[in-house]
Symmetry: C2
Subunit: 234 residues, 2 copies
């Protein structure tokens, strides 16, 4: 590959990288805002998150097109091709995290009419804050090609799973105590599950970044939520 | 592009297509089997589904590698590139449908120890059967480049959403009637939600196929579950 083509590829990649960072920042914001809107039962604030998802989706499209165009024009191979294919996976994961934030925002008006479940909103906000912080680190790891940082993000998913499990047990108790709590708890449980899934997606992103940099997927040594269903979720 | 390179590309694409069809067949089987194992409370049968997911994941890897190799070697543009990038999205969706089947299989041993919720297992099996049939049609549409068939798959997602909503209401009623049903209903509800998500993923696949063939994403005119939360899930 000659100098000219190589630097054209680099420019393309920089453009894509800045789009990913922009999209990532918007998704981080959506995660925090949907949890905050829920906690303070602010329907308008939730509506802003819901509407904002369109812009996130549009960015994914733009990233996909830029990556496809770069592949077509520059015909990259090996690590360059791997980077571009990874970008497609990263933007797809970001889009799904944004979708979960939107879904949480959609439930806020419903929950605004119900009696709050003591302590659950604050617990959800802490959980969302942790996911947002993991995402921030994943994006840093992406820009800096930092495998160690990506690995640390991956390990933190266990905390999210534990927060989710604690909430699940709490909701069960509230429902058993008083059937009038059932509807609210079902909705809150959905939301907790959505945040837990966001954590899974950010973890997938961290693994994709490790793959992008090293060419190898990390070993399956992180404890996964799905394998702890039997023990915890009863 | 000369004859020789063009036919090499065609051979690559045929290989990838047969891998997608193989993966799709395995996922169809997993959908049916996880629902059947749940209905007859057959833990061993569920375990086969759980273990079988590894083979599905391995096929996704194989498809990703084949697509990346074809992109690197043949440097396809326009429709050919779009087809290969679509293949990556299709295999990612199939992998996620397989994951949901695995998650359902994982809950079967837990539910085997609980009192069944009248009629819910059969309803879930019908819902799974419908998703499997949609997936079969989506795969046909992919092989035949059949936009009309893909469009019909997309429209059928509404039926899945309605089945899910009916089950959701049923679970709520059962929980309110008798708190001892709460644990079982929470697990069954998770499963129903997983099947509903499978339907969403198959719908995404149908849309990706339409994009692959026509170069344009279909308009957002299908009624989506997420937009009906407020009305239905209370």
């Amino acid at each position: 590959m000659n100098e000219h083509i190589s630097s054209a590829y680099d420019r393309d990649l920089e453009e894509i990288q800045s789009l990913i960072m922009k999209m990532g920042g918007m998704v981080e914001h959506a995660i925090l805002e949907c949890a905050k809107a829920l906690e303070v039962r602010d329907i308008d604030r939730a509506e802003v998150v819901r509407k904002g998802d369109k812009a996130i989706d549009a960015l994914e499209e733009q990233i996909n097109e830029a990556a496809a165009r770069t592949i077509a024009l520059r015909a990259p191979v090996s690590k360059d091709l791997r980077t571009l294919l990874s970008v497609l996976k990263l933007s797809a994961s970001l889009e799904r995290v944004g979708d979960y934030a939107k879904n949480i925002a959609k439930r806020t008006p419903i929950l605004a009419d119900m009696k709050p479940i003591s302590g659950a909103d604050a617990a959800l906000r802490r959980m969302s804050k942790e996911v947002q912080s993991m995402l921030g680190d994943a994006l840093d790891a992406y820009v800096r090609n930092d495998v160690e940082l990506a690995e640390s993000v991956r390990q933190r998913d266990l905390d999210i799973d534990q927060m989710y499990n604690a909430l699940f047990r709490e909701f069960l108790t509230f429902m058993m105590e008083d059937p009038r709590n059932i509807s609210a708890c079902m909705h809150m449980h959905f939301i907790a599950k959505n945040v837990e899934r966001m954590g899974d997606l950010v973890t997938n992103m961290a693994e994709q970044i490790i793959y992008m940099v090293t060419g190898e997927m990390p070993e399956e040594d992180r404890p996964k939520m799905s394998s702890t269903i039997a023990a915890q979720e009863i």
